[in-house]
């Protein structure tokens, strides 16, 4: 019986989709990487179902005409949340496994790799078994049935939610508690996905990233043994579920397991629920913006605001091109914005006096110390949104820079647009963002640069068109290379937010060296020895390499 048939017979109520459109949509996130669909989508509703599904992903199968030599069939798994990831996380890849896999050679592997009872395993020591090993496609594990939202106990600052709960759903359910989940990556991502990618966003300057906001999570680990052809129920080796972390704000007990899973991009297990911090809704909020003659100066201002210890709740920097893009896509507006590098700021707190003091301090730096112009601020929500409009609409107005209007069928779309991000120390931030902006101009590449400047993190939005020449595309990727190399050369990172997926794997060795990558491989191999979980992402591991096989 094949994988799906077994699953359907043991779990008749389990929802499975083979619909072409569903498969296509589950084969990509919001990156430019073309879709690479799974063979099936499964919608589990419980941790037990996930355990049963994962157990089947590594099993021993006897097929006719195989001379009694079983095949070990390995099925890949990628957990799916909201599909908003940006570096090809959801694309199914055939990993660069060792040549041992996917050919018809018979190999000998330790018998201890097979599921067996404790008694059996003692006898199996030093024994081997002859098998063939094959990868048999992949499944998308859609977590949308994991919608539980716990009760927020009054006085506590954390809440437990199912991995499939989106952040806006969570905040809507919290709307009368006075507390909110504060991480804002823009997209309405799920808490499981946000944990897997260590998401952050504009609020990180005050509320940090998922790494600092996840207190606890539950995850189902991939199987570490090959399940046998005959048994239908798991033994002790059934994929285990782990309880990581604690509800306390500070925890020094043991290895920090939630941090291990945060940013693991689905390569270590299936996160089923997450307990995250929540914060009080601020009583007072003020938004502001200020223009500067050049990008470098604007970036220096941000560093100064941080060095002076002025609290900000958001601080975003948009380059000249970003403002131009906004003006172009906002033609109904009577008064276009000045096309200069612009800072967008937000201050929040519990008292009006303290928020006003923060605003005044920042204003002094912007205007008096760095000759910023057109400093405006507002307290009421409508005007605040108006001040920040260019920032809120940035993504779509950047894409619109290269068509996509009603008449332009070949214009750039969100599927053809590259969004990339790097993060560097403050002392290098101004230089690097300016250099990148200059690279775009010098190379004739259309794009906008903007940053979560308060963290030294900036992005480029680079819209591509269907009929762009290879030459142009090369220029775009060259600019991304240059910007990343600069970031790495100052000890920064190739990705502050979006993650590695498969597009940025190549930078890990430059960042961490051979030993760093090797340690990551060790972690991956010990948790997922058969490389079932999102293979080919973050790092490559050889499954059943010669090092693993017995002599």
């Amino acid at each position: 019986m094949d994988f799906l048939s077994i699953l359907k017979s043991t779990h008749p109520n389990l929802e499975i989709s083979l619909n072409k459109y569903d498969l296509d949509s589950h084969g990509h996130g919001e990156s430019y990487h073309p879709t690479s669909p799974p063979d099936a989508i499964i919608y589990p509703s419980s941790v037990e179902e996930i355990q049963d599904i994962l157990r089947l992903c590594c099993r021993e199968v006897y097929r006719d005409g195989d001379d009694n030599i079983p095949t070990v069939e390995i099925v890949s798994v990628i957990p799916y949340g909201a599909g908003t990831s940006l570096e090809g996380h959801l694309n199914f890849l055939l990993p660069n496994d060792d040549s041992v896999i996917n050919n018809d050679d018979v190999v000998e592997i330790p018998s201890s790799l097979f599921e067996s009872s404790f008694e059996e395993s003692k006898q199996l020591k030093n024994k081997t078994k002859r098998v063939k090993i094959k990868r048999k496609g992949g499944i998308s594990l859609d977590m949308s049935n994991f919608q539980s939202i716990g009760e927020l106990t009054p006085g506590d600052v954390f809440i437990k939610v199912g991995a499939g709960v989106s952040r806006k759903t969570l905040n809507e359910s919290l709307r009368h508690t006075g507390m909110q989940f504060m991480i804002d990556p823009g997209a309405d991502a799920t808490l499981g996905g946000m944990t897997a990618t260590n998401a952050s966003g504009t609020a990180a300057v005050k509320y940090h990233t998922m790494r600092e906001n996840v207190l606890h999570l539950t995850a189902v680990l991939p199987p570490t043994k090959i399940s046998s052809a005959t048994s239908s129920n798991g033994s002790g080796s059934n994929p285990i579920t782990v309880n990581c972390g604690s509800n306390s704000l500070k925890n020094s007990a043991g290895y920090q397991l939630p941090t291990l899973f945060t940013g693991s991009e689905g390569t270590l297990g299936v996160i089923t629920d997450v307990t995250v911090k929540v914060f009080p809704i601020p009583s007072h909020v003020i938004a502001a913006s200020c223009s500067f003659d050049d990008l470098h100066t604007a970036a220096e201002v941000v560093t100064m605001i941080r060095m002076m210890g002025v609290p900000v709740s958001r601080i975003e920097l948009l380059d000249e091109m970003s403002i131009r893009a906004f003006n172009q896509s906002n033609k109904e507006e009577l008064k276009p914005m000045e096309e200069k590098a612009t800072l967008f700021l937000e201050f929040s707190g519990h008292s009006e006096a303290s928020v006003m003091a923060d605003l005044t301090a920042a204003q002094t730096i912007c205007v008096n110390d760095y000759e910023g112009s057109n400093f405006v601020s507002a307290k009421d929500e409508t005007t605040r949104n108006k001040i920040w409009e260019a920032r809120h609409k940035l993504y779509y107005s950047s894409i619109a820079l290269r068509g996509g209007g009603d008449d332009d069928e070949d214009g750039a779309t969100s599927q053809t647009t590259i969004v990339t991000d790097i993060c560097v120390p403050f002392s290098n931030f101004a230089d690097i963002i300016s250099a990148t902006s200059k690279d775009l101009q010098d190379n004739g590449v259309f794009g906008t640069c903007f940053g979560h400047a308060g963290d030294g993190n900036f992005h480029c939005i680079l819209p591509l068109k269907k009929n762009d020449t290879d030459e142009y595309r090369e220029k775009v990727f060259r600019v991304i290379e240059l910007m990343t190399e600069r970031a790495l050369s100052v000890g920064g990172t190739c990705t502050g937010e979006h993650g590695v997926g498969y597009g940025k794997k190549k930078y890990l060795e430059k960042m961490y060296g051979q030993s760093g990558v090797s340690l990551m491989q060790t972690v991956k191999r010990s948790i997922d020895p058969f490389n079932i979980m999102n293979p080919g992402k973050i790092i490559d591991v050889d499954c059943f390499s010669e090092a693993d096989l017995p002599l």
Binding site: H176, G178, I281
Partner: protein
């Protein structure tokens, strides 16, 4: 403007999946261990009342009819900015989702409460509740009070002369009507586009705990208002059957326009 009344209903939270127990017949909708919240349209009404209060300094009174947990629903309105509340408490087994208490009973109670309050300028209600979806309480109340009314409000402007100019959303388009000031109170029901309800901050939630909520049993209120308890508790409409909608059938994929036409003809959908 002096006083605005906002009746608020406690219903199953809009994000919850409704479960029907077929063995319970008309009372099949499960209410136990289900998250309850303020009806979303009532929330919009509360928000509008607060916005009007911020402009005119009127007093906002939140009212709810239901079991003891309705006090929490009233506290939500108080956290958003209402000044005080009135909770008409029913026995725990009395259902508000069209089984026991229905719009006629609620409207009769509200009419009495409006007169009891004295000096009410405006009653803001949600256009309908998401459990019974009747949309009748507002209009019935206006009828009982002989009040000018506007339903499905998408925009409300309070004139200095006490009038209300209301933009209504209808299927045919937007209609603007003016409720003149000479007849008080006015009744307006609120639609989705009217506003976006605020999320109260913790200090406001704390303040709400100290605001006054008058709790009075349904029996006592009925007596005080001179109504008949049986009249109130006997529903005018009887729920005959409650069932879950049948599961959606999977669509069929066809390979060509001809095939599509063939199928449509087969199913008698096209001549």
């Amino acid at each position: 403007m002096k006083k605005i009344l906002v009746p608020v209903k406690r219903v199953i939270d809009y994000a919850q999946k409704i479960r029907v127990d077929p063995s319970k017949g008309a009372e099949g909708v499960q209410l136990k261990n289900v998250k309850m919240s303020m009806n979303p349209f009532c929330e919009i009404a509360v928000e509008e009342a607060i916005q009007l209060k911020e402009k005119t300094k009127a007093e906002v009174v939140a009212i709810s009819v239901g079991p003891k947990q309705c006090t929490e629903t009233i506290r939500t309105a108080l956290a958003m900015g209402a000044d005080r509340g009135i909770h008409v408490e029913t026995k725990p087994d009395v259902r508000g989702d069209y089984i026991n208490l229905q719009p006629w009973a609620i409207a009769s109670l509200l009419k009495g409460i409006v007169e009891r309050e004295d000096g009410v300028d405006l009653i803001l209600l949600g256009k309908q509740s998401i459990d019974s979806d009747c949309g009748q309480t507002g209009p019935l109340l206006a009828g009982l009070l002989n009040a000018p009314q506007a339903t499905f409000a998408a925009k409300i402007e309070a004139g200095d002369d006490g009038s209300f100019t209301v933009e209504r959303e209808t299927d045919a388009g937007t209609e603007t009507i003016k409720l003149n000031s000479s007849v008080k109170p006015a009744v307006i029901t609120c639609d989705l586009r009217l506003n976006t309800p605020r999320y109260p901050t913790m200090p406001n939630i704390m303040k709400a705990k100290k605001k006054k909520v008058e709790t009075i049993s349904l029996e006592d209120m009925v007596k005080e208002l001179g109504l008949d308890l049986d009249e109130v508790l006997t529903p005018k409409n009887e729920v005959v059957e409650v069932y879950e909608p049948p599961p959606r059938k999977e669509g069929e994929l066809v390979g060509s326009i001809d095939e599509l036409l063939g199928k449509l003809k087969e199913k008698g959908l096209v001549a």
